[in-house]
């Protein structure tokens, strides 16, 4: 939890990008009905953990707000790398030297 300007408690959903439940709900009400659409609108899931912590919370909020079951929702897109990896290690993979 963190306090907003008025001192009211806010529930943090995405800790990496500091996105609150209120922000997520507002994005849904403005038409973002997928994990990806919410990410684009609020940055939830764009941080260091890439949604590994918050994605399930966001799906739960989506279910609650839209009245759907989790099976009906698309998950976010998983991409390389699975966890934060230094550029140096990626550059040590086989690559094109003349690139």
């Amino acid at each position: 939890m963190m306090d907003d300007e008025k001192g009211k408690e806010k529930i943090l959903i995405c800790r990496c990008e500091e996105v609150s439940e209120e922000d997520v709900v507002q994005a849904i009400r403005e038409g973002a009905h997928t994990v990806t659409a919410i990410k684009r609108k609020t940055r939830a899931g764009m941080g260091l953990c890439q949604g590994r912590t918050c994605e399930r919370q966001i799906m739960r909020i989506l279910c609650r707000e839209l009245g759907v079951s989790p099976e009906e929702l698309e998950t976010g897109t998983s991409r390389f790398p699975v966890r934060p990896t230094p550029t140096r290690l990626i550059g040590e993979l086989p690559h094109e030297p003349n690139y």
Partner: protein, 413 residues
């Protein structure tokens, strides 16, 4: 079975930066406009690029003029649409890594400066003053203070809200599957899976998919998907003083590539990889602090996935240019498909074969950078109905000038 649900003046196929800017300027004039997007807005090249607005990579002529005019429009746009899309004018730098680079690019820099671009050659000392993080092997650079970055997702969000406010309509998750023509050969109806739309004029702004959509109307255009792979890092404090491109990449950008030859070399596997991964290099940093490292140039059909080899090449080259990057954590990667135009020119204007079909595509990696000026021009021409000369420039960008070619749509799998 199709069922008429709506009618409009102008239907735009494609909800990327080009389609939305055309819609923005049309609805601003009060013209009844509908945007049709097969996925969500910003799902194609607009949502998968380096977010840089580069004038410095453009040759003097229409493309440079469009980029400069667009830069001017971007500066006023946030106020105009009342939406902050993280426009950040940091300037751009092209680095010269060899004497050969200097020799090749210096006349290019001068021609841009002569054309009025605020660009200048920097010696080694001046280069490191602006960009202390650069590797010491860099000899010199050219610097353009005009160039900037935007957040493409925020830009499209802001534009789409403006289009709706101005009375436009957005149809998301609607794929165009065909067209009906009337007896004069004009498009009369756009068919989607469960609905149809009647429009007086149809604009195709479908990026890398423009060729497929145009084919549904019986028109062939030489647009190929060219993939660019990009790495995104964790957010860090400001590392660069201007975003970085390499002279090698700029030189390669201006060499026209025959898609057939490029694909054959890719498939043949000999000189292959350097052709496959092309020469592109961009290092930028978002307002949020994430480093954006790119980019490959590959012809692999419509596969927008990433490859370890492509990403490794990007990681290696960019951390050679800025050694500190080696320590920075990468958190994400993605690939995007640019609408590569084989003629090297944008394909903009009405078709001779189908007069009420207008093409706005072929921007390859330039879409976000030239969209405002390009699309304002297109919207004005649509509004007055007289195409005449499209841009006040030497180059003519007319689809009718494009020769028909016998090249398969899918160039590789």
């Amino acid at each position: 079975m199709s069922r008429i649900i709506e009618e409009c003046e102008i239907a735009i196929i494609g909800g990327g930066v080009i389609g939305l800017f055309v819609a923005y300027y049309l609805t601003k004039k009060g013209i009844d406009t509908v945007v049709i997007e097969k996925e969500d807005l910003c799902s194609g090249a607009t949502g998968a690029n380096d977010a840089c607005l580069m004038a410095q990579s453009k040759k003097p002529g229409a493309k440079l003029d469009l980029a400069v005019e667009s830069a001017r429009q971007y500066q006023a746009l946030a106020d105009e649409i009342n939406y902050d899309f993280e426009y950040s004018r940091k300037g751009s730098m092209i680095i010269f890594e060899s004497e050969e680079d200097i020799e090749t690019l210096r006349p290019f820099t001068k021609s841009q400066a002569d054309a009025g671009l605020p660009v200048r050659f920097l010696d080694r000392k001046e280069t490191f003053e602006i960009q202390p993080a650069l590797s010491r092997h860099i000899l010199a650079s050219s610097y353009c203070s005009l160039d900037a970055e935007v957040n493409p997702f925020a830009l499209l969000e802001g534009l789409s809200l403006a289009v709706l406010r101005q009375g436009g309509r957005l149809l998301r998750h609607k794929e165009v599957i065909g067209f009906e023509k009337d007896s004069d050969g004009m498009l009369s109806e756009i068919k989607m899976r469960d609905s149809a739309l009647r429009a007086k004029t149809v604009v195709i702004a479908a990026g890398a998919h423009s060729r497929d959509v145009a084919a549904l109307a019986g028109v062939d255009i030489p647009i190929y998907p060219r993939r660019g792979q990009i790495l995104i890092s964790e957010a860090i404090s400001p590392l660069i003083g201007a975003y970085v491109m390499s002279a090698k990449a700029i030189a390669s950008k201006h060499r026209a590539v025959s898609v057939k030859n490029a694909v054959q070399q890719q498939d043949g596997g000999k000189s292959k990889d350097s052709v496959q991964f092309g020469l592109g290099m961009i290092i930028s940093q978002t307002v949020n602090g994430n480093m954006v490292l790119g980019v490959t140039h590959e012809f692999v059909g419509f596969d927008k996935g990433t490859t370890l080899k492509g990403l490794a090449s990007v990681a290696k080259y960019t951390s050679t240019v800025i050694p500190a990057l080696a320590q920075v954590n990468i958190i994400r990667s993605f690939g995007g498909l640019r609408p590569y135009s084989e003629t090297g020119e944008y394909i903009i204007g009405p078709c001779d074969e189908v007069p009420n079909l207008i093409l706005v595509t072929g921007h390859e990696g330039d879409g976000v950078a030239v969209a405002p000026a390009c699309c304002l021009n297109v919207a004005q021409k649509i509004a007055c109905g007289d195409w005449g000369r499209l841009f006040e420039a030497k180059n003519e960008y007319r689809s009718s000038a494009v020769p028909k070619r016998d090249i398969p749509i899918r160039v590789a799998d």
